[in-house]
Every structure is written in structure tokens, then in C-alpha cells.
């Protein structure tokens, strides 16, 4: 059951379980992974998503920015199948996995058991070890999560998302709580993982620079829709101070309603 066709929408309650394809690859690079139209979500009188349209293709790295309360997390949770209150059309093709802002490791399970939790395949240990190796933590497979640093915990959480071989990887501000140096190395790590596995990535962040460093496409969420899009075609790794990025950043900040003239 790799795809879900439109209609008045019912979201998958348990995405990973229902779409249990053995491996990635039957979705080609560029095949649509997410197609959303007219997505609506309101909490009481407050309309958070108001007719949002969005398409994401496999292999695309998309960043979603927006002021706080703009509905970024609501959209992401919807895509993860965590929000039964969404209305509209949403097609998801392939497996979805998610990394959260807090790493959300189960403290009572050792690192390897956290990564392999819920895997339904004959060799969960092997693939979990391989995923840990990819994030550089193979030696920590036996550690308790509480003994890890914030960056390490977040890498475990990336390994856990990765091991499910997702076609769509949802990253909900995964680097928000990390210090600047750790964040930079996490950026390199995520870029590398994305390059190797080519899932579609949707990264929610409040950090415009982070979005510009990582993404092919930066979306600005405002008034319940994608209010603005910017394509970033610079080669990676990107120079923060590249003139193209600076002008993009200023434009995005204006879109976000930040007054750039007063500060620079």
C-alpha cells in the first residue's frame, strides 16, 4: 500500500506500518512524494492551515520556514499522520519517517534498540547498526540515551528515521536545541545522508540561514498557505556569505515580516 489516493482525506494512522515496502527505489528521483491541495486545519476559531497546496518530489530537499504559530509543525504532523483533524486532499507516496526537535529516544532502551524499534524486517539489528554507523555512532549502540550529548541523541534519532528507508523524511526543527558548532556538523551529516539516500526531505526550521544552507527550495508559510517560495540553486557546500544567499536571505526575511533595513 505505497500510495494513498485522494478523496475526502483520511490520513494514515500508522504510516510506517501500513506502507511496509521492503526498500526504497521503486520511486524514482523526481517522482512526487507529497501532493497536497486545499489543506485546512483549524483549532476552534483559529484557522492555522487555510487551503494550502504543496508538492514535493523524491530527492528534493525542502525547507519550511515561518513565524511561530504559522502552522509549520501542524503541517508536518499532518504529513506524519499524527493529526486526524486535517481537511483537504493529501496524497503521500512511499514511506514516511520523522525526526523530532527533542530527539525523543526512549530512555529505557539502549541506543540500538531505539533505532530498531518497530522495524518489520528480518534483519533489524544489522540495518540498525548500519544506520548508526552512518551517523558515526556505531560504538554507542549499547549506551543508554541519557548518557548521550544533545548532538549524539539527535544523530541517533536521525539514524532511527533513516533506517526506515523513507521516501519522505520529516525533520521538525531537529537542530533547534543544539549549539552552533554541533549544528554545523549536523548540517553536513544531513546533507550527506540526503545525498546518499535521496529521500524527499521536508525540514521545518525557524532559522533562515539553516534553510538556505541545506535546501533546494525554501517555502515561507504565512496565513495558512505557502506564501512564498525561493529556489536555491547554489552548489553545496554553500558559503554563508555568498552574495546570492545574502540577497535571498534578505528577501525571505522581508517575506517573514522582519525589518532588515533597521538592522543592517
Amino acid at each position: 500500500m505505497a500510495s494513498r489516493s485522494s478523496g475526502s482525506l483520511t490520513l494514515p494512522r500508522r504510516p510506517g506500518r501500513e506502507r511496509s515496502r521492503p526498500a526504497t527505489g521503486d520511486l524514482a528521483d523526481g517522482a512526487p512524494v507529497v501532493s497536497i491541495s486545499g489543506l485546512r486545519r483549524s483549532f476552534g476559531n483559529r484557522v492555522v492551515l487555510d487551503g494550502l497546496d504543496l508538492e514535493i518530489r523524491r530527492g528534493e530537499f525542502v525547507a519550511l520556514i515561518g513565524r511561530s504559530g504559522s502552522g509549520k509543525s501542524t503541517l508536518l504532523r499532518g504529513l506524519a499522520g499524527l493529526d486526524p483533524g486535517l481537511e483537504g486532499d493529501m496524497d503521500l507516496h512511499g514511506t514516511v519517517s520523522m525526526a523530532f526537535q527533542g530527539a525523543r529516544l526512549l530512555p529505557w532502551k539502549r541506543v540500538l534498540d531505539n533505532v530498531r524499534l518497530g522495524l518489520r524486517r528480518p534483519d533489524p539489528d544489522d540495518v540498525a547498526r548500519a544506520a548508526l554507523a552512518e551517523v558515526g555512532l556505531q560504538e554507542h549502540h549499547d549506551a543508554w540515551p541519557m548518557t548521550l550529548s544533545g548532538g549524539e541523541a539527535q544523530r541517533v534519532s536521525l539514524a532511527r528515521a533513516l533506517v526506515r528507508e523513507p521516501d519522505l523524511m520529516l525533520l521538525d526543527e531537529p537542530f533547534g536545541a543544539l549549539d552552533a558548532l554541533t549544528r554545523m556538523s549536523m548540517h553536513r551529516l544531513v546533507t550527506g545522508l540526503w545525498n546518499r539516500h535521496r529521500p524527499a526531505v521536508l525540514l521545518v526550521t525557524h532559522d533562515v540561514d539553516e534553510a538556505l544552507t541545506l535546501a533546494d527550495r525554501v517555502l515561507v508559510l504565512a496565513n495558512g498557505r505557502i506564501a512564498h517560495q525561493a529556489t536555491v540553486s547554489l552548489e553545496r557546500p554553500r558559503e554563508r556569505e555568498h552574495p546570492d544567499l545574502i540577497s535571498l536571505r534578505n528577501r525571505l526575511l522581508v517575506e517573514l515580516g522582519v525589518d532588515t533595513k533597521g538592522t543592517s
Binding site: L106, R110, M146
Partner: protein, 291 residues
């Protein structure tokens, strides 16, 4: 009866864990911190015994009222070695009591865990079970003794039920609170990972509730011992409580003291046992608490 505030047991659990946590430094280098619970903890009990002995030997209090520790020990030896008509042997009484305790506790604990799962895991279950348990919680446990005698007679059954009821309440309350206290974000994670309900309970809910469950276990063992003492003084013809009963009639305070001593040791032993269980089951948070 325990009037458990759902939060306070958690604090209790942390302090218990902390006292277990000192042997290893957080980085696992094995650096030992100063042990605070070694022989120093024995100073005050030993001093108390010494004062007790002196007071008795000096004749300040009659040995009938307060037999000196040496006499308690020699009485204990006699009770172990001779099968007297009045008391039987101490070990026989101990076995009878242990059996009662284990049966009653097992019954109460099983019922408590099942009910806590039912009410912890579903709204309907909570609505069905929790009000009843909250009502039972406020009943004075030992006030039920006469009712139990009318209902169940004076045999083994009312005693077991009293112990079971005493043990069930704290275990239920803490386990229920523990299940409800499991971080919703982790449950959400389970959903994203595609866990079935069964797996969610096994990997997320139960381990998350375990610390409070263990606090409940300790409380309920305490209440169970207490209930045993009370239950055994109701028309028994075996067990530790029976010995106390007999000794009261024969005005043999030294025997009463022996039995009290045995109760104390049993209480300490169970506490030690639960601590060991805690230490193994909650190993995952030792690192944090030692820091």
C-alpha cells in the same frame, strides 16, 4: 491507608534511585564517591541497643515490661530450638506467616495491576474502575476487619483478603498514575514508528510507568506486612501474630519483642529486595542521577 498524591511517589523514587546511584561516576570510569550508607549507618541503632541494655540491667525499667536485648536474643534461641506447647517453634510460625503474606500479596498485586492497566490504558476503563478504587482507597482498611469476619468467617480467607486489599491500593494508585504520566510525545513517536497498540504498551507505556509502579510496590509491601500483623491477631492458631497473642496472655513480653524483631527483619528484607529489583529495572537512569 495510603493517601497517595500521584506526584510524591515519583519524588520518592528519585531519591531511592539516587541512593543506589552513587557507586559509579556518570562517565563510567568507576570512580567511587564517598559511601554514606556503610557501617556509619549502624552507629545509631547500635547505640540505641546499648542504652536499652543499660537501662534494663540497671533496673530502671523492670525486665517484665522491657526485657533487655540479651534476653530477647536468648528467648529467640529458645523459641527456635524448642517446640513448646504454647508457641510451637519460631520457624514454624514464620513459615505460616510468610505463606499468608505471599498468597495475600500475590492476589492483591495481580488484581491491582490488571485494574491499573484497564483504567490507565483507556478512558472507559478509567471511568469504570477508578471511581471504585478511589472509594475503596478512603475506607479504613482495619475498620473492615469486623465486616470481613462476618462475611468470610475466621479462617484463612478473611486474612488473605485483608492483606490483598491492603497491598492492592497503593500498587493500583501508583501504577495508574505512572501509566497516565507517560510522556505523550513518546506515545506519538510510537505512532510515527508504526508500533501496534500492543507494542506501544510493551515498549513505551509499561517501561515508562515502571518507576512509579516500583514505588507502589514498596508501599504495598509495607501495607501488606502491616495487614498481616493485624490479620494474624484475629483468632489464629499459627503464625507470628498467633505468637504475640499467646505471649500477651502469658504476659511474656520477651516473646512479643522477638516477634516484633522478626517483623522488622522481614520488612527490611522485602525493602532490600525491591531495591535490588529497582536497581536492575531502572538501570537506564542511573547515569543521569549520579551526575
Amino acid at each position: 491507608m495510603s493517601t497517595t498524591n500521584p506526584r510524591s511517589p515519583a519524588l520518592g523514587a528519585v531519591s531511592v534511585g539516587a541512593s543506589r546511584a552513587r557507586e559509579r561516576a556518570p562517565d563510567g570510569t568507576g570512580v567511587r564517591r564517598r559511601r554514606l550508607s556503610g557501617w556509619q549507618r549502624l552507629i545509631s541503632p547500635v547505640a540505641l541497643l546499648a542504652v536499652w541494655q543499660l537501662v534494663s540491667v540497671a533496673g530502671l525499667v523492670s525486665a517484665r515490661k522491657l526485657p533487655p536485648p540479651t534476653q530477647v536474643v536468648s528467648t529467640a534461641a529458645t523459641l527456635i530450638t524448642t517446640n513448646s506447647a504454647a508457641y510451637g517453634t519460631l520457624q514454624h510460625a514464620l513459615l505460616a506467616s510468610l505463606e499468608r503474606m505471599l498468597l495475600g500479596f500475590a492476589l492483591g498485586a495481580t488484581v491491582a495491576l490488571v485494574l491499573a492497566l484497564v483504567s490507565g490504558l483507556s478512558q472507559a476503563g478509567e471511568e469504570a474502575v477508578d471511581p471504585l478504587m478511589q472509594m475503596v482507597r478512603t475506607l479504613p482498611l482495619f475498620g473492615l476487619v469486623p465486616v470481613f469476619i462476618v462475611w468470610f468467617g475466621i479462617g484463612q480467607l478473611p486474612k488473605l483478603l485483608l492483606i490483598a486489599l491492603g497491598a492492592a491500593i497503593p500498587l493500583y494508585l501508583n501504577t495508574f498514575a505512572g501509566i497516565r504520566g507517560v510522556d505523550g510525545k513518546l506515545a506519538e513517536l510510537g505512532q510515527v514508528l508504526g508500533l501496534s497498540r500492543r507494542e506501544l504498551i510493551r515498549h513505551v507505556v509499561l517501561p515508562g510507568a515502571l518507576p512509579e509502579m516500583l514505588v507502589g510496590l514498596r508501599q504495598s509491601l509495607g501495607v501488606a506486612w502491616l495487614s498481616l500483623v493485624v490479620a494474624e491477631q484475629l483468632n489464629t492458631n499459627s503464625g507470628l501474630g498467633f505468637m504475640i497473642d499467646q505471649a500477651t496472655q502469658f504476659l511474656q513480653n520477651d516473646v512479643i519483642f522477638v516477634v516484633l524483631l522478626v517483623y522488622t527483619i522481614l520488612g527490611l528484607l522485602t525493602d532490600w529486595l525491591v531495591r535490588r529489583v529497582e536497581r536492575r529495572a531502572l538501570a537506564w537512569r542511573r547515569g543521569l542521577l549520579a551526575a
